[in-house]
């Protein structure tokens, strides 16, 4: 197996918060609140790591305006020490996975032995922005001296300047091809002929799998409860999972992106939500020196890029690279997580996976890969049911694959996701006991 990291990178353990569905108003926790909540629980489980962390790396697409370099804020709030450096990374929907990659490189190169890495997003707290014309007007008003100058400036105010722009909506729109993420999913559905019914069936299954996993306590080994001091509410589970969904209900939803005839609805897309996942990455020396347990090995992360309008196929590109590079084969993989940005997008990935023309023409590769067993793909549902806090997801699916491998006593696992802007990422993980 050919691997990208010089030294072996171990994953000691990880914890995540429950994922809280955005309700339309700002959620109870800021991004750093979420990251601190799961990280401090993780460190509580490994107190010997606490004093020895050498770097903090988090991925976050859109920290709030008071959370610039959110990793540093997280490190300081955790009390890791004033002398522990921290940086934040951004690769849109894969920011959490990018954080793991950055941490892994530090460890592999020998510049760090123990790194706290993770992904976090509080999408419900995305700000509402005013346009540049409003900013320019305000700046001019502030600079104006004297009553006359101010009055003249005041007269230049136009009500349209107050038109608010949702930063979240902006962030989920590709500015180059001018498509929002939902429209890229519509594009895939069109190209790969994925019906509304297939999407809804996929979504329903995602909810059913997640609900079953919740009932069986599958997530208990990953989730740290969140406590809201203001309302006294405790969140112990992902609250977007529906235990009572049905095809009829999903079928009644209106298209959310291509009006009025589209097929991608809020029901068969990932939910907008808040959450954080933290992992501890360590070198072999650190594991030995601090007597740390090992959950698994992070062997490699492949990144690939493609047409932004087809960004949903990113996992196909990244995984193809991953398999070619590491020479691990599909049947060796005991657990796959392909993030469910959209039901249509995952279905399109599976079709492209088996599409010789696509492989040849777009990926310039001969032949298809072995198909992925249904049982081994997203066994506990995905973002359609539990939510997709964009910066968090990359870290969450890596954590979930490792925990699932541990549970099923498997060996290899792959976590992959599509990335807004036309990219894909895929991580190869191995469980060691």
């Amino acid at each position: 197996m050919q691997l990208s990291y010089g030294r072996t990178v171990y994953v000691v353990d990880g914890r995540r918060t429950p994922i809280l569905k955005a309700s339309g108003s700002p959620g109870p926790f800021s991004a750093s609140d979420l990251a601190v909540a799961c990280s401090r629980d993780l460190l509580l489980r490994h107190p010997q790591a606490r004093e020895n962390i050498q770097e903090v790396v988090w991925g976050c697409v859109m920290p709030s305006e008071s959370e610039a370099n959110i990793s540093r804020i997280i490190g300081l709030r955790l009390g890791l020490g004033l002398d522990v450096p921290a940086h934040t990374v951004q690769r849109n929907c894969a920011s959490g996975m990018q954080a793991l990659d950055a941490a892994a490189y530090r460890i592999a190169q020998g510049t760090a032995d123990l790194v706290l890495a993770g992904g976090v997003e509080a999408m419900s707290r995305a700000p509402v922005l005013f346009g540049l014309d409003a900013v320019a007007w305000l700046g001019g008003f502030r600079r104006a001296r004297g009553r006359w100058a101010r009055l003249r400036r005041l007269a230049k105010f136009r009500p349209r300047m107050l038109h608010p722009v949702s930063a979240l909506k902006c962030g989920l729109t590709d500015p180059v091809v001018n498509l929002n993420m939902g429209q890229t999913a519509e594009e895939l559905a069109y190209r790969f002929q994925i019906s509304r019914r297939a999407m809804d069936a996929f979504a329903l299954e995602s909810h059913e799998l997640a609900a079953r996993a919740q009932d069986a306590g599958v997530f208990d080994g990953e989730i740290t409860p969140l406590y809201d001091g203001l309302t006294g509410e405790v969140y112990t589970q992902d609250n977007g999972v529906r235990h009572d969904s049905s095809l009829e209900q999903l079928g009644r939803l209106r298209p959310a992106f291509d009006h009025p005839s589209g097929n991608v609805t809020a029901g068969n897309s990932a939910q907008i939500s808040d959450g954080a996942a933290a992992l501890l990455l360590a070198s072999g020396e650190a594991v030995e020196r601090h007597h740390l347990p090992v959950l698994g090995i992070l062997h490699h992360i492949s990144w690939a890029a493609l047409d932004p309008a087809l960004m949903g196929l990113g996992p196909v590109h990244a995984m193809r690279d991953l398999f070619d590079r590491t020479e691990v084969t599909v049947p060796e993989i005991d657990c796959f997580e392909i993030n469910e940005a959209f039901a249509a997008q995952v279905l399109a990935c599976l079709k492209a996976w088996q599409d010789e023309t696509y492989m040849r023409e777009v990926l310039d590769r001969d032949g298809c890969l072995v198909p992925i067993d249904k049982e081994r793909l997203n066994p506990h549902g995905g973002a359609v049911a539990i939510g997709h806090p964009v910066g968090m997801t990359g870290a969450r699916i890596v954590l979930h694959v490792l925990k699932q491998l541990q549970r099923m006593k498997g060996r290899f696992g792959v976590a992959s996701l599509c990335i807004g802007g036309g990219q894909g990422g895929a991580a190869l993980l191995e469980h060691v006991s």
């Binding site: 601190v36 401090r40 629980d41 509580l44 489980r45 107190p47 606490r50 709030r77 955790l78 009390g79 409860p225 406590y227 809201d228 001091g229 203001l230 309302t231 006294g232 509410e233 405790v234 112990t236």
Partner: protein, 674 residues
Amino acid sequence: MNDWRHWRLAAGEGGNLELFLAVDDRSVNVLHSGVLDELEDVLEHLYTEAPPGVILGSDPERAFAMGADVTEFAELENREQALAMLRRGQKLFEDWANLECPTVAAIRGHCLGGGLELALACDYRIAESGPQVQIGLPEVRLGIHPGYGGSVRLPALVGDLKALRMMVTGKTVSGAEAMKLRLVDAVVPRRQLYAAAREMIRRRPAPQRPSWRDRLPHVPALRGAVTWAYVRGMRSAAPKEHFPAPYRLLEHWQALSEDSATALESEAQSVANLFESPQARQMTRIFLLRQELKSHAPNDKATSSVHVVGAGVMGGDIAVWCALNGLRVTLQDTDPKRIAPVIGRARRMLDRRPEDTQATLDRLIPDLEGRGAGSADLVIEAIPENLAAKQDLYRQLQSRMRSDALLATNTSSLPLERLAEVLDEPARLVGIHFFNPVSKMPLVEVIYHDSEQQPLINQAAGFVRHIRRVPLVVKSSPGFLVNRVLMPYLLEAVRLRDEGLSVATIDRTATAFGMPMGPLKLADMVGLDVCLAAGSVLAEAHGAEIPGTLAEMVEAGNLGRKTGRGFYHWKNGEAKRRHVGKPSRDCGDRLVLSMVREAVHCLHESLVERADWIDAGLILGTGFAPFTGGPLELVRRKGTDTVRRRLETLEKRYGPRFAPGPGWDSEQLRKTAP
């Protein structure tokens, strides 16, 4: 350039002089007589030197000034000495105020009592920003009021109503609040403190004056109305016969003369009168005892992480209080639904300190699996009072805790000896017994059950001091000290009720004596089940009898506030008012002497190191009428024989529970306090 011990004068920019206070023989700046002696010299020097400006500050490592030296108050023998001390301080501060050059007080940290009065004698005051700044005139807490010109200068500076509020309540303000009151002229970061002071001298702005609205109550015709309103507000919570100081302050203010010499003399006379009062003497004594208890604990911050097991009312509040005081806390409970309200309480407690909210909540870590026990410096167990459950927990804890970590229980009724039986090293367990509510009750009992435990006791007491509570080391015995003394009083109240006296009448009798709350209301708040359990333990140990009513009420599910019914009817945490009738003969004595009798018994058993600590414990742990000086001081003041005879009378009338126990011939009861 001078050989003063406490003051240091340095030449500053522009010919200004900068005067720094660093009291040589104390760890904090207090204005004791030696400091004032030298101040006289300093002033002489300043008058000859006539610099363009003077900045008055404290040594870089120290807070401005904590106030006068309270130990000297305790040594005052008569009114003349008090008067001489006051007039002398007034004259020095008056001389300071009369310096011709502008003067600026550069305030860091605490600026209290006499310290603020000196700052008020300056032309300007600048405070550093930050939560460590506390400015105020807390003299009423010692049973006196400001006496170095503060009661004259503060109203002139900030207006009468604002000044009265500060002096009557004794509450301190932060730098920002002081700025709002116009008590200080600027609030700046520490790095700018002296630069801002120099700038003040250079610019010489017009001194602060209260607005006309704030000056209005100064009109003599309106002062009567203000006084009336104040007295009306105070008299039920702090009646004049118990707390004369605020009333004397109001009288002094009401007659405040425009002539400063007359006003200052009136102030001195008023405070000298107060110094003579037994209330001030006792409150000063308790203040000093409190300092003594604190200083008995090591001043180290060895404990940085605490694991609390049990997120009930006590466990939760202990966890929040520790987190608030900078410790990393893991709070263990199996049910997240019990932890959530603790976080809520923490948030509410932090409402007034928004700048500390996030850091405190980050340090307070819910811990469903009890992982924190493995790494904490101190583990405090606060689960329900069940011997077997606690022993089970200790068995698990001892294998998981660090070998050098301290194990403590917050039990109030179970004997430590029994609890410790299951440990490999029974001497490992100590008691750290908090009182409810943790944030309001300053006392914490530190309990030992083995003579080998001294180092652990020091560690525990150091922890208590670190979290700004007062540690009292008590030998283990049923009820320890505070609850043991309190219990006969609560039970006597139940008996009085059984005899037909109304609940409100009994409680009123106790509050009239000076207890902060009546015994039956207290029992309701603590919970009748808890009272019954604690009472049974004591009854077993000392052969007392528990009135059957208590058990009946618990049986019926009327547990007090938490169930809505007990001796009172409770609604939204408030007791419904009840009619107060006429107390029966002996009612007051039966209540108070129940406590006194038990306190003497505790003295006999040497539960604490010094007799005075029994008084301090009862006052700081239960709010026992502070102006009386505590139960033992009460005996000393009334005379041992008198109290003893009274008990014998009660014994004849009501039964052997009043029979004076051992301890009445103790030397300690004969000595009179300062």
